[in-house]
Subunit: 277 residues, 4 copies
């Protein structure tokens, strides 16, 4: 199990979301509440866009986030209008930088919470399905990175929801051919630096938790004293594995089998289901 | 808070005590039950004696113990009649090798759970009290290492209980001069490779937990099916911050303000109190 | 021995100075030419100022710079008008984050190449001379950090050249009292985020190398084809342990026993000598 | 480029070969003489057999060997009759534990110096050729690990020289199909804990350097004052990428295209050439 956070909106210091909230992502690295594992100490990553950046900067390290000084420095000094942060709890694969999220391909970033069940049985078949021109870019050994490369193979850069649906379809078909009943469990965030997609899906219809923040104007009315909200633009959104605190009216569950899009022309929440490949 | 384990007895593979028990030290690194902090992921160390070794080997690393492959390898392949293991939860000082336990000086090893309260206020005075010839051996920034160097200054190599008592006395006097009411909280293990001392003490009489295992013959009678016990010599003893499981009759609390000694000529449990310096 | 680089001028991507030059600092981490040691692989650090930053961000890590992916990411995505970079070759003290440069105190950054000779003999006395209110901020075990804390003790924030001169005076007096003939060897860079001071001094008058770049207008005339120079402001300056390439007319040696200042009101090169304390 | 050392013979403290010789492997990590790269600082590994060990202990870490304290501890305290040590200079793949040598499978260890040329072009085809039951054991992203898994696929555990020859044959055929003229460059060491094989081969007949030590009785006659040789059994052998010093009569070059075997029933030097698959 892992925990993640995706932000899009008014540029903020990363620390104002990673460290300052009552139940921040860094706090969750020590004491997550909603997951199978309460400790997420097997590496972390942060990826951010900023002015004049054609690709996101992605810093991933293998120790726990809670004690990492470089993360503290970056979070305390970097402002970004669009960033991802992820804390990892390995379910078996090696603790190494190349297994940490977010993964990047050009302008694209990807992060995942969940698992391909029976990954040992399907890893080879899934690796073979990756476009041979992309194959050599696989650096780590996680299911999450392979899911990203499959989504890229299926056209992520043209049609993100469709590509993710076909990736999910392939994982399910391959898993079931190998005797896995519920092959996929995922919450996924993807971005191209402008738009942000978040997916919640699992083969058995009982997905890991996923929440999105309410509209800024609603939040401002509910919590008039919160400094951050005064400056936040109407388009500001957070998507998180687990709420960052207990403020009423802030967090809404992403429904099972759905895909949320945050984009300049307005947000949307769409149904999501795997597509056959 | 930290957790530690000290073993003396029939040579065993380290993993049989570090990984195999139900609530092993490695399990405690993720889920301690008795401490203030449930996660001990800020580094670890293991120090062992073996045949033909004039000094103990001490391996300390800065990541969490639970995912460390080198620790797994060492524990799975090294047998020792006398070893220490420690998992760290930093209370503020840097996560770095030189702050990990056990500390070593010649044949001597030292590990600690607890804290010098108000350490910032007394650190300089305590450092000045270290024998100038030893001072340059201080590599890290913890209270625990400084306690070790003070004990060495006060004659640890000649009279361990007396030197630890004087160290405790100095810490208490210095703390109180600086307005700290309860300056010392400690469980400490020390060894010279032959004998093993364990101390439990705190200024406010409410020390961190500490347990020692029952005599092997008692354990054998209680748990006739346990393989490890069949081979264990009568002198075999474990001292631990926290029991390694729930077997009845195995664990005995070290009393407040006491010092246990495990040595070839027989074990002893003595009262312990700071001495004025 | 270590190598360092200090930049002040038109905001640049860090990578344009850390990675792109022919004999860049990262190249020097593998193949330094001018030092005693050709490999500088015992940790590194980078500290930068940027818009809206009251303190510099300081990222220090313990592996070699040449293979560090997080440094590559930061350098490829962060622009700064004033930054320090340092690669370390340990002369004995532990390879740990708290021993990596630059060191920071509030807005101030400090980095050093050189050594306090006979450091083991003087470390305690020098540590005692640190202002007790600052003492507890010492986290590592290097001579370089101690030199910084001594300079802070002697008024670095009010009079940098004077404070560094008094620090040097104390190091020389203390060393000589302990029988060290040539106690100090240093090139040091210091900044408060606006001004930048660089010192070159050694007790025996044979200091480690130090260079500063020529005026931008001179460079532009010499090398009309260099893109970076077209955008660089007249105040842009680099100070480096070792030239970043062989372009004629670019690099000038900082003379023995001198202190250079780069500041908005114009640069200056002054004589430097230790002051008695 | 990398450097490695394989030892079989009278049990020795690892440090007596890794640290003590004039041009030891650890010295080579900073200053190799014979390779393309003089610095081998991208991780290291040591694997050893000992009494009662069914599998070798393998400790691999990602920093440079020269400053690693855990390696120093292990080397100073572990005695072994058969061990491997490897220092890595990455030619592009990630610096991570799973890319460090030696690799292990059951009782088998494998280490490599060299490269599969054009690895990006052939990586996918070679991965597909790995036995599907072994595929999921691939943890890293190096050519070296893939060569090991191919050799295992081709029967390494039954016929090491034959399996390595078929692996080499596949690498050459695959590379040439993808337009690589000289696909393979290798010196490889393999062991099952009893026997030790060393291979030197390259497609263009200009292999990386490889040396084996002379018979102990010859060495003893040449260098009667060397302590280590007085205790060494007649079967003691070292195979190294680069001589550990300049003593005359000690080192013999392994010829191009050959395979040396060190085993209880006597050593042998055989020709080696790839086999078609």
């Amino acid at each position: 199990m892992c925990r993640w956070l995706a932000y899009s909106g008014t540029p903020v210091l990363l620390e104002s979301l990673l460290y300052e909230p009552e139940h921040s992502l860094i706090d969750q690295s020590l004491h997550a509440r909603m997951g199978v594992e309460t400790t997420n100490g097997d590496g972390f990553g942060v990826g951010w866009f900023g002015p004049e950046m054609r690709t996101p900067a992605v810093v991933r390290e293998i120790g726990p986030a809670w004690s990492n000084r470089s993360l503290r420095e970056i979070a305390g000094h970097v402002r970004s209008p669009l960033f991802f942060a992820h804390i990892r709890a390995s379910t078996g694969s090696a603790v190494q930088q190349t297994n940490c999220h977010p993964f990047r391909h050009g302008r694209w970033m990807w992060m995942h919470n969940g698992a391909v069940e029976g990954f040992d049985r399907v890893r080879r078949d899934l690796a073979l399905a990756v476009d041979p021109r992309l194959f050599t870019g696989i650096e780590g050994s996680t299911d999450s990175e392979l899911m990203f490369f499959l989504a890229l193979t299926f056209g992520l850069e043209e049609d993100p929801p469709g590509a993710v649906a076909r990736m999910a379809g392939l994982v399910e078909r391959t898993g079931r051919e190998r005797g896995v009943r519920d092959p996929l469990q995922m919450t996924v965030a993807v971005t191209d630096g402008v738009r942000l997609w978040a997916f919640r899906y699992s083969s058995r219809g009982a997905s890991r938790s996923l929440y999105y923040s309410s509209r800024v104007e609603t939040l401002r009315a509910l919590h008039p004293g919160t400094a951050f909200l005064r400056e936040a633009s109407p388009r500001t959104r957070l998507v998180v594995s687990e709420p960052l605190g207990d403020l009423p009216g802030v967090w809404n569950e992403v429904p099972e089998g759905s895909c949320g899009v945050v984009r300049p022309e307005g947000d949307a929440l769409l149904p999501f289901a795997p597509l056959p490949v």
